[in-house]
């Protein structure tokens, strides 16, 4: 296939796709309309299962299988990062020198750190009740821990962040999600089915398996982000190529 034929094939495909997209756009519902057929059905289903946050009900009950896929994507990409950013044979670790931190930065970071971690844990725990959930809370907790790098130094961060155990916890949380899905297969009707009692509406334990799956995702995301940032930080701060020092 010559370059010209290839371009021609791409032009034909591209034109077709563009025409279909434009045609589809004309059939879209208007911006900000008051008719939401899917929204109405989803809200009805989530209220029937005593889950106050409809998004959590979609993520961890009605479309829990989608979330399994998303979790696997994150898990696989972090795994890929760990492999790519590993210390190779021609690199060595140089201990980073402790640096002076400006006093206001130190104060602010150490003041915000506990607040941010608590906020993240709150967002995870209330995933089935209020906006947020495992993913959002997990990212907040993981990034909040890195305020210690700003407020103190790299060694303080490394002390509270043994990467190995976070990697194990990441894998455990991912398997917990799978095990909960299989439990649905055994105790209920289908893989990832909501088999637990739904509980009282708008309490922490409501929603059956939703809070459990949410917690598993929260742990998975927090650990995955910590491992991801740890590998980036290692490369940026510690690992050096031979002959560069």
């Amino acid at each position: 296939m010559t370059r010209r034929v290839r371009l021609l094939v791409m032009a034909v495909g591209g034109t077709g796709l563009a025409a279909l997209l434009v045609a589809a756009c004309f059939d879209l519902p208007r911006f900000g309309g008051d008719q939401h057929p899917y929204g109405d059905r989803v809200v009805r289903a989530s209220l029937a299962r005593h889950t106050a946050n409809t998004i959590a009900s979609v993520n961890f009950d009605q479309r829990a299988f989608d979330t399994l896929g998303e979790m696997s994507i994150l898990f696989a990409s972090v795994l890929g990062t760990v492999v790519l950013l590993r210390q190779t044979r021609d690199e060595h670790r140089a201990a980073p020198e402790p640096e002076q931190v400006a006093l206001p930065v130190r104060r602010y970071a150490l003041l915000v750190l506990p607040v941010a971690v608590l906020t993240g844990l709150y967002v995870i725990a209330h995933g089935q009740l209020s906006p947020g959930g495992g993913f959002q809370g997990g990212v907040v907790v993981a990034t909040a821990l890195h305020l210690l790098y700003l407020g103190a130094d790299y060694r303080a961060l490394e002390r509270i962040r043994p990467v190995g155990s976070y990697e194990v916890a990441d894998a455990l949380a991912a398997s917990a999600y799978l095990v909960l899905g299989l439990a649905g297969l055994v105790a209920g009707t289908a893989f990832l089915a909501d088999f637990l009692p739904y509980g009282t509406f708008n309490t922490l334990s409501s929603g059956g398996t939703v809070p459990l799956l949410n917690a598993a995702i929260g742990m998975e995301v927090a650990c995955a982000v910590v491992v991801l940032l740890a590998n980036f930080l290692d490369q940026a701060v510690e690992i050096e190529k031979e002959g560069e020092t």
Binding site: V123, Q136, V139, V140, L228, L229, Q235, T245
Partner: protein, 86 residues
């Protein structure tokens, strides 16, 4: 589209997104990207999608700029070392 709040949020997103493209220094780009993430979170909140807004706030305005900054530091480090040696 009649809500002025939505129009303002959309304009802010367009402005900061253009700025993120116009800034050429990667380290500064990361900062502008953080601003863009925050503005996008505001837009999602105005459009009544607080779940998406929270994700955007956590990932777009904290995690992604941080990863970019760390990558920039890694890429630039050897060069800076040579300069200090000279």
């Amino acid at each position: 589209m009649d809500d002025p709040l939505i129009v303002v949020a959309l304009l802010l997103v367009a402005g900061s997104a253009t700025a993120a493209v116009a800034v050429r220094d990667p380290a500064r780009q990361a900062l502008v990207l953080a601003v863009l993430g925050t503005v996008l979170a505001v837009l999602f909140t105005v459009l009544q999608a607080p779940d998406v807004a929270l994700s955007q706030l956590a990932v777009g305005s904290a995690l992604t700029p941080l990863l970019i900054m760390l990558s920039v530091r890694k890429v630039r480090r050897p060069k800076r070392r040579e300069e200090t040696e000279r």
